[in-house]
Subunit: 477 residues, 2 copies
Amino acid sequence: MSSPVDTFIEYAEKNQEAYIDRLRKAVAIPSVSGDPAYRKEVFRMGEFLIDELKALGASVETRDPGVQDFHGTPLPLPPIVLATIGTDPAKKTVLVYGHYDVQPALKEDGWNTDPFELVEDEKHRLIGRGSSDDKGPVLGWINVVEAHKELGLELPVNLKFCLEGMEESGSEGLDDIIFNEADKYFKDVDVVSISDNYWLGTTKPCVTYGLRGVSYFHLTVKGPKADLHSGVFGATIHEPMTDLFAVMSKLVTPKGKILIPGIYDNVLAVSAEEEKTYDDLSFTMQELHDAVGNEINIHDSVKDTLQHRWRFPSLSLHGVEGAFYNPGDKTVIPARVVGKFSIRTVPDMEPKQITELVEKYVNEEFAKLGSKNTMSISCTHAGNHWVASPNHWNYVAASNAVEKVFGVKPDLTREGGSIPVTLSFQDALKKNVLLLPMGRGDDGAHSTNEKLDRSNYVSGIKLLGTYLYEVAEAKPE
Amino acid sequence: MSSPVDTFIEYAEKNQEAYIDRLRKAVAIPSVSGDPAYRKEVFRMGEFLIDELKALGASVETRDPGVQDFHGTPLPLPPIVLATIGTDPAKKTVLVYGHYDVQPALKEDGWNTDPFELVEDEKHRLIGRGSSDDKGPVLGWINVVEAHKELGLELPVNLKFCLEGMEESGSEGLDDIIFNEADKYFKDVDVVSISDNYWLGTTKPCVTYGLRGVSYFHLTVKGPKADLHSGVFGATIHEPMTDLFAVMSKLVTPKGKILIPGIYDNVLAVSAEEEKTYDDLSFTMQELHDAVGNEINIHDSVKDTLQHRWRFPSLSLHGVEGAFYNPGDKTVIPARVVGKFSIRTVPDMEPKQITELVEKYVNEEFAKLGSKNTMSISCTHAGNHWVASPNHWNYVAASNAVEKVFGVKPDLTREGGSIPVTLSFQDALKKNVLLLPMGRGDDGAHSTNEKLDRSNYVSGIKLLGTYLYEVAEAKPE
Ligand SMILES: [Zn+2]
Ligand SMILES: [Zn+2]
Ligand SMILES: [Zn+2]
Ligand SMILES: [Zn+2]
């Protein structure tokens, strides 16, 4: 007789058509959180998940995040769905997070098929909005629970769900609920597992233990009281755009080096142990070129490229508010311009200190200009970086599960972007958080023709279930 | 018995209410050329002028500039109205140009009154869209003709009109007609007079003999094939925005000095004669501060300020196409950005040479960056500068007329902006062109609450008529 985990894996392999049917139903609900016209569909998607979870015997509760102020219009926020399967004090408790809203998608954006109709193409890619981000992974967990119910097997751990419907729109209201429930609904949680990111490449699974933070800045230069005609005033007054470009051009070099003094002082050096993790990552420079669509890499090696993506800071200029931005020609002198830039941050940079360094530097650089305009700088958002220990038993459990299902050791990765809920769970619950992705690096989560490969979906279901067994067997230090 | 010109001046003074009534009728026609919804009103305004001119005995013809392509919608262009009063070969022929379309205006833009209802306030300002730009001046000429008709006086010169209805929207179709009619309808023209600019300040009349040209540039930097996420790609690829800001920050200093080598080489030095014309201009630094709404002057004297406005080049940065421009935060790496800037040009700068200098310099500066992105620069528009001799008998006639009507010598001014039709008439007809403004510097031609002071309207009518007598008496060298 085979072990419960093998029984589960075998069952999952056989039942994949049912799992795809479930994903098809979920994708058919256009739960776009960013468009008020679809808000009722987000609610409908929440109901869909509540029904599925209840049918599997979960005890389900919801939390109401209240009302969103959408450019002056009040919009009800979809519920945070909390579900519990098993409350055995002898078992560990795993909290899984996912989101049931999706990015906007219109056929005319360039989709080859209706974005809200799941289709499988000749390469066995399941194409549809939300297939990979994040309905596939959320249903992955539900499929694991269903398999155990059908097989008459007990889950090896207690499972708690936290599912939100506003992730693609800033997770409004979620943080308050996480912190509020930390010692209530989430009291017994031992570890957290989130499947909302992607493999580094397309062939090898990974576990992800770090994310960069981001500090966003607005650099405002004000001069005239209203926009002026450059014919009348050019070369006679200090122009805000000239000052803005002078200061913003001093922030970062074309090779990506940040010019703000002190900004690198607290960046941790790469340890020997970390250095090794870059040795056989499943990633090539060709994959970078393909993703970018051009060979404009700054660094020549995979290691340098990924270290700069994951664990060194970067500074990007995003745009200018208040200046001319349309096609065509306009000879305006804009009166007030706001330059937007952000710094991706890494351990042990401190958001507060970063803001101080930026303020000091841009003030000094502006003073050098001798301009009579006024400049101000503000940090409009500061989300901290996050890093977990990849040696924690939760990560070891995930790594073992990958080896069992895929026959390879996973890549140990970080990401250059941020997934704010990761930090929220870690700060609120003080438990290890694991990022365990289901999809591939080329799924196109926020793009047209988003897909989840059939093999990733099915293997992902096996992985999530196997991970629970590995968690159950792990010996916390 | 008084002279004809004195009789005319006396008559004009007495008939001002009728002139204001005529202006009221014209302002009531919302001939906004920039908004297709008002196109029929532009035609109606053309008809209004044709009727007025015919009633005064003018022989009127029209030219059809054809059809405008308004963002894909074909829109009929309003007619160029050509009118002739007098064909006496013994007299000189003066061509007057004006436009009968106006800038858009909505009460909610901040007008205190209905913009298309002429009202006179307690300061005797005639407030309404087009009052000063350019219906007041156009009717000024018509009032001169009417006065002579009523008085039974012959005009001292032959008068030709060229009135267009698309000036505020790029004068579409006008140039072709001017060049086509140069040796036909405009064959006998001796001098041209245009009343479509303004006094330097608010108290003293001026004649204007120069305009700056403008060359507009698009600096395009292309990198990735689509916008990228700065979390994923920051510090790993060459970012187009970083390159764009690096190059655009090298174009001009915060004090307005253009950094393109050779750009000043062909700028004419200020002659002793020209230097003197700055000595008692009716302008103060306070007027600059008031117009700008802030004390951000680069130069401390009126002379330096006006020389930099009128007869030295300037370079302004206008904006960026393709970058993030909305309020709020967005962490995009824009894939393709187009920086917009323009250079105001003066004698003897050559548009072609300017483009070459700009191309050479930005290519060199971009090469210094060592970026793998691609950069291209193009001149999208090049309108030449214009300058006439203020010693030409046409200017002397205008100056004499100012002295007779206002009792002061006019300011001799230039403008920093361009009025392209000026150059078209000069190039096509090879005759002296005079700019003889009616309104004041604070009329707010393109702003809310546009006005024309009653005294400027009435004195302007006297001035235009008197100018014709001075032209008649002038002895061409
Ligand atoms: Zn997601
Ligand atoms: Zn997403
Ligand atoms: Zn005008
Ligand atoms: Zn105008």
